[in-house]
Symmetry: C2
DNA sequence: CCGGGACAATGACCCATGTCAACAACTGGG
DNA sequence: CCCAGTTGTTGACATGGGTCATTGTCCCGG
């Protein structure tokens, strides 16, 4: 899953960010920006030391200062209920922006934790906003990204509300598949960086159910699974499964 | 539930919109704008003939031209699956903006239908965007509203994923309660403009379950229910119910 | 190469909630 | 004011998926 991976020791000089040379360029914020505007954006972006698996990018309740674009690796976001229970609210892949849900309140409503070694671009929000008011294309792109996030969550709500366990897992797999595809990775052959527990939590199922489903999908010839590694063998069948709600 | 209701015949002269005189002023887009900026906003807003119960504000697949602020009444938004099944994605009350989820694709991903007589302000999106780039406060407010929407949907995802039927209904009731309260209506005594079927659909439950729960809440003394009308008698108990997920 | 701890898979059992069916209550049109 | 259609309520029964318990597997450190 990891791609652009910084090697070993962290040099003290400012790491090169340069959106223009980033392989995620077309999916991330910069899309459609002119060369000069891009340079301005580059200047406000800070590159941070890569996060190790399990490290937090931010925690629920932290003051909101920046949004983060993922360069490589992956994150999960989750809230913690009063009872200490965790609820996973999303998994995030390279080029995606996290932290947007903190704008309203000025406080992060969820925590973000690395699922593997992960590097991010930090984009201070006050400066992004200021820049947005000068560069209409940037502003538009920001609204578009947020709108897209709303859309994706509506989709998720549909699975959670209406669909059977198998449809939910199928939908999850398809979503990952298309996200990888958009990032020029294989749509059929990928690693899931999160644990079964995280998947189950996200889908609102018991771990055991998820486990059983993976097994069943495998015996039915839809997938080949080996731990984190997934190979999709029958995309159409998955699609059919994901489509059917349990009223059928 | 309806409040600012236009009476009978529709005059041909442009109806008075004037955000400044709107009772929803503080909750809606205009918040924090200076007088002059408000006037500019007023100029791009169109007032449409009120929608009757069951009328569509827009339909899934329609081209995205405008976002809509609800003045009075209420709407539901929903998608229709290939199988013709309906999935309710939200209920919308006065001062709320609908249509934001269409920004990314330029096409409405869901339909919006009036649950009762409902009047809305139409805000053409191209002009709003243009205005936003000139008025930073407006832009900020727009981002804030979208961020808030993301937040609310995450919350919804949590109910749907993790919670028992009773917790879901309790959470729904509490959400309406606080939304009415924010709009200076009673937090304990209100009408639900949508049918049981819509509620059930939204919560991912069977109508029968919703019906039974209403009855049970009533016998347990938490509520008094009479058709659409709800009187909350024990807010704390509801809160406790909404909090507990079915892992407790 | 071995051992411990986390993670994953599988089986047996049970409960919450869905389904089906009958009925009751309300609503609007004539 | 009545009747038909729609919407809501209630009961009996079925089942998907949760829970608990056991066993298997991987992975890392020593």
């Amino acid at each position: 899953m990891s791609s652009v991976q910084e090697s070993g020791a962290i040099s003290l000089k400012r790491l090169q960010t340069a959106c223009e040379s980033c392989s995620l360029f077309q999916l991330c914020l910069p899309l459609e920006l002119a060369h000069d505007d891009l340079e301005e954006l580059d200047h406000i972006i800070k590159q941070r030391r890569p996060l190790q698996r399990g490290e937090y990018l931010f925690q629920m309740g932290n003051e909101f200062r920046a949004v983060y674009a993922i360069r490589s690796g992956s994150l999960k976001t989750f809230t913690t209920t009063d009872g200490g229970e965790e609820q996973v609210t999303g998994f995030h892949l390279p080029s995606e922006l996290v932290g947007l849900d903190a704008i309203t309140t000025g406080t992060h409503p969820c925590s973000a934790r690395a699922l593997e070694t992960t590097s991010v671009c930090e984009i201070p929000f006050d400066r992004l906003e200021e820049l947005g008011s000068r560069i209409p294309g940037l502003q538009r792109q920001l609204l578009r990204i947020m709108s897209h996030e709303i859309l994706m969550e509506q989709d998720t709500m549909i699975w959670l509300g209406k669909k059977s366990a198998e449809a939910r897992l199928a939908a999850l797999l398809l979503r990952f598949s298309s996200r990888f595809k958009a990032r020029k990775f294989s749509a059929c052959d990928f690693n899931l960086s999160m644990s079964r527990t995280d998947i189950a939590n996200y889908l609102g199922l018991a771990v055991e159910t998820v486990s059983r489903l993976f097994s069943r999908f495998q015996t039915e010839g839809l997938l080949e699974v080996d731990r984190k590694h997934v190979l999709i063998k029958d995309m159409d069948a998955l699609q059919r499964m994901a489509g059917a709600d349990h009223t059928n």
